[in-house]
């Protein structure tokens, strides 16, 4: 990395000041774009996208389209010349992933070190199931003088709840968000503690989930949504009809556990500090 690091030090030309000036490095900015509807881009993200910054955006493979970029293009903005796709393959192979995080980081680092801010376009929210955290960590690992900034955005489950007109959580309610792949016993157990479950990546165990919801008498309180807020959005209120279907990867299930019983001790915990101390001791 030494050659890269050296690039950031640009000695003043002969004839200039004799004092070595350090170039201010650029910021790596994770720009959340919301889950797909260009209207859900925040004003702050929009402002950054409208300025003269270097854009980066994730693709699955060198020739793939970028979903994050497509949101911005549908919003009417143009891809600037100063831009680069970063490849993050769809794999759980940590070694392979780390290799690509490093390649991506090495792509953006010299740009940052030259003093330019780099935007990384993120679908949904940059803190929620996003590659941005890995990219940022790897960049800072290479050069800890780089500043990272995250612009928060609308996450897919917030958009899904809005489209379904179903609150994620109301006063005192609890909610959990998890990949459904943790399995039926886990989902079953969590229903005891949560008023709302957001199940992601339901595809591989969809029928098993439907069985559980039927046992729990929660089918009528569960909704399914694919690509929330996009033109291809699909809402299924009769989730039992999904049985046997191969659903899209970008789908989720919103389970409202209307029958949840909150125990006495738990209620006690929401009282005054003194009573709570007793209840929890």
């Amino acid at each position: 990395m030494d050659n890269l690091t050296n690039k950031t030090w640009r000695p003043l030309r002969p004839g200039g000041s004799k004092i070595m000036k350090k170039i201010k490095t650029g910021k790596l900015i994770g720009v959340s774009l919301g889950p797909g509807d260009p209207g859900l881009i925040t004003r702050q993200a929009w402002e950054l996208l409208s300025q003269d910054h270097f854009w980066t955006y994730p693709v699955r493979a060198r020739k793939s389209d970028s979903y994050a970029l497509s949101i911005v293009l549908r919003a009417g903005l143009q891809l600037p010349e100063k831009s680069s796709a970063l490849v993050f393959p769809m794999t759980h192979d940590l070694e392979k992933l780390a290799k690509h995080w490093l390649i991506a980081a090495e792509t953006v680092l010299p740009i940052l070190q030259s003093g330019q801010d780099v935007l990384f376009l993120v679908e949904g929210d940059a803190s929620t199931y996003s590659t941005f955290g890995h990219l940022a960590k790897t960049v800072v690992g290479l050069d800890d003088s780089i500043h990272v900034e995250t612009i928060a955005g609308v996450s897919s489950f917030n958009a899904a709840a809005a489209r379904l007109d179903t609150p994620l959580a109301e006063v005192d309610e609890t909610m959990a968000i998890l990949p459904a792949g943790y399995g039926i016993p886990t989902i079953d157990k969590l229903l005891d503690d949560f008023d709302t479950l957001v199940l992601l990546k339901v595809k591989p165990i969809l029928d098993d989930i439907l069985d559980l919801l039927e046992q729990r008498d929660l089918l009528a309180h569960t909704q399914f949504i694919e690509k929330a807020g996009t033109e291809e959005e699909r809402i299924v209120k009769d989730v039992a009809s999904l049985r046997g279907e191969t659903v899209n990867y970008l789908s989720l299930m919103l389970v409202k556990n209307v029958r949840r019983v909150r125990g006495e001790i738990k209620r006690g915990c929401r009282k005054k500090p003194d009573e709570m101390a007793e209840a929890t001791n």
Copy 2:
């Protein structure tokens, strides 16, 4: 409320069309504004706010300021003449709350019935710990021809994670959001199943939470943030220093459960459908 109701009904003037036309009712739109930074208002919310709609906004009491409204005013917009504060008192008394939901619904209903769209300004996300769901349900209960629309927004925990540069969830991770008042045994139990806990309303049991985190050796992986993204934002990384302090109501704790062990069966559930069926049967 009767005088308000009467104002909105504008009968067709004599001499007008003899056919009674049913006025198309307006839409009740929950406009999420994000947690406080005007930059986190979405473009769609901004567009609605810039159009000629009737604004409503929540206040705790008749003479109180509205935090939701303050976000919009700080963004540079002006309160239109066509606007009304709606009182939602800070109480857990369900009867009292229901009474105020009804008063609020009766305030907006005639406006909707006159054909005007009504915006309800919401801090954070309208689906997440917001009064909007109650208002919408009560309005539709009074007149089921009213259409409700929710504009999703950035929730406080997404903004908090961004400000803390800490991911809420990465690949395969699980996250839970809950009022801390459910008590230490609940929080302790949930740590086994969650990589991230967002604890809301930590104020009343803050010291007990710190004890638990110390036992679990998670103090170094916990951060505290008050009024994320606002001018009064306060970030505390050394959460142990909060012991004995009375913290703000609008604060949360982000606990990264870095030591969580994910069991074998759970991992099995993330494999191919056939293997999963075996693992969960």
